[in-house]
Amino acid sequence: MLKYILKRLLMLFPVLLGVSLFVFLVLHLFTTDPAALMLGQHATTQQIEALREELGLNDPIYVQFGRFIWDIVHGDFGRSLMTRTPVTEELLKRFPATVELALAAIFLAALVGVTVGVISAVKQYSFFDYLSMVGALLGVSMPIFWLGLMLIIFFSVNLGWLPVAGRIDIGMEPSHITGFYVLDSILTGDWAALKSALAHLVLPAVALASYSTAIIARMTRSTMLEVIRQDYIRTARAKGLSEGLVVYKHALRNALIPIVTVIGLQLGILLGGAVLTETVFSWPGIGFFLVSGILAADYPVVQGAVILWATVFVITNLAVDILYAFLDPRIRYS
């Protein structure tokens, strides 16, 4: 087991190196000259050439890549072309916002998805089953940014219950411990901040969770339907166990592996969707930062955000793989 985890961790390095090389090549081969971009349209050819020399853009490409990797390993993603601030600093500032949103969404998706899926399977072909499967179809077909807009119009504009955008009311930020506002406000006992943070979190989390909730509900339903037909379920019922006990202890436990798999995969998909949700709700995370970086042609920002995002994605997938081994003792890795 430990050997397997170590092996998988070691395999992370070539993948991440490949990811970095990929991003580096794509951005360096096809984008416009960053030196020209930094100096603006009035720069002379000599000025641009001097800056290219200074930035090392005239070095051979492998030297540039080596330097690029060296910098990344030292946590340096360069400076933003627009704000001149270190990209690493900006990313670190925004990272907790994205993680908080993604975790809230996956928690919501898993809770609602599994519950709905189990009830649908137990009451197959009931009105509830029919309704929830139509809901799941809607969930996979609706663009999440549109759902986000609809939620804003309904709950924020029409009803006025929830804020339209942002992470927290201005000036309410809890003192910085972890960077997760919900957690920080609980830790510091700042209940006003907690209320504000949760109110801001609800709609983006619901919008982001919609697609994953649908997928998890479908998967839970079909897996549960298979498990429920097994002999041991009939045995459990025959020996007089209550229906609740049969469903939760005998059926759900055995259906858990594919469900956890799909939840893990969804966490990765959620990370992609977060770009859209953050844009709709002006959520100050990495996705919002990335999109503004692209629109401003700020390539160190794009580079840093994409690499960080892919790293999180790869590590998440690895963590899910390792989790299986704990959940299912039958799985042996060699």
Binding site: V15, V19, T31, S141, P143, I153, V157, S222, A310, F313
Partner: protein
């Protein structure tokens, strides 16, 4: 010759049990899939005949008429420049279907070639291609598409390319997996033994057996492509104004949610219905092609 006739099935019988005939019969029985197909055919017709069907010019706006709510004259209202929203949605169908089909077409073609080469030849070619695909799969696909748009620049052609590139690995994997199992079959060995060249074996004996899963996957892929194109448009990276595209309409309508929310209602409904139809039709295709997969 007369001896061979004894072994052949009578033509009528062969027709009745042909694979595609059977497939079509199963698909026809699936009312939801058939309904989706009819919807998509209608949508395709509207898209092609947009200049004839649309009540107004989608690009002509009258400022005094801006932000009008739905009315008898403008069924879905007017946008911030006084343009008819229904007409823009009708013209937007052209863009969405074009992006969906072209992106998937390119991705499937590249995916089939790469997957077939990797699976058929194996060894270092397989390793090279599949490791590269693994790297691409290390990114969430929308994120990768966004990154490509940053490099390629905005616009509908680039959106098609970006969406196509990010979906290649999925098809390459399906094809490679199928090719790996099919190439061991006796009839492929036989085809090789009588001296067929590699490309003939791949195209005539291997690929036809991979088409089932590819057709199903690509139908579902069109819905993903339409969603991704809308997302790029919404972020301001895809189709550029004034061209009508559903995602772009949502992106520009976003500023008016306080006083004219109808700007964002209808393009979203159009995306949802179209994506839903492709999803349902894809599910129907899967069930009809392989009844064992039916859940």
């Amino acid at each position: 010759m007369s001896q061979a006739n004894v072994l052949t099935v009578p033509a009528a019988e062969a027709e009745r049990y042909s694979f595609w005939g059977d497939f079509w019969r199963r698909l026809r029985r699936n009312r939801i899939a058939l309904g989706s197909l009819v919807f998509l055919a209608g949508l395709a017709f509207v898209a092609v005949a947009a200049p004839l069907v649309a009540p107004y010019d989608p690009y002509y706006g009258e400022m005094p008429k801006a932000l009008q709510s739905p009315s008898a004259a403008h069924w879905l209202g007017t946008d911030e420049l006084g343009r008819d929203i229904l007409s823009r949605i009708i013209f937007g169908a052209q863009v969405s279907l074009k992006v969906g089909f072209l992106a998937v077409g390119i991705a499937v073609t590249c995916g089939i070639v790469l997957g077939a080469v990797a699976g058929y030849y194996g060894r270092w070619i397989d390793n090279l291609i599949m490791r590269f695909m693994d790297i691409m799969l290390a990114f969430p696909s929308l994120l990768l598409a966004i990154a490509f748009m940053a490099v390629l620049g905005k616009g509908v052609e680039n959106a098609i390319i970006a969406i196509a590139i990010v979906s290649i690995p999925e098809y390459a994997r399906i094809v490679r997996g199928s090719v790996l199992s099919i190439k061991e079959n006796d009839y492929v060995q036989a085809a090789r033994a009588i001296g067929n060249p590699d490309h003939a074996i791949i195209f005539r004996h291997v690929l036809p057996n991979v088409m089932g899963p590819i057709i199903v996957r690509s139908t579902l892929g069109v819905s993903t492509a339409i969603l991704e194109a809308a997302a790029l448009g919404f972020l301001g990276l895809g189709v550029q104004p004034p061209y009508a595209e559903w995602g772009t309409m949502l992106g520009s309508g976003r500023a008016y949610i306080f006083n004219a929310p109808h700007l964002v209602y209808f393009p979203g409904v159009a995306i949802t219905l179209t994506v839903m139809a492709f999803n349902l039709f894809g599910d129907g295709l899967r069930d009809a092609l392989d009844p064992r997969l039916r859940r």
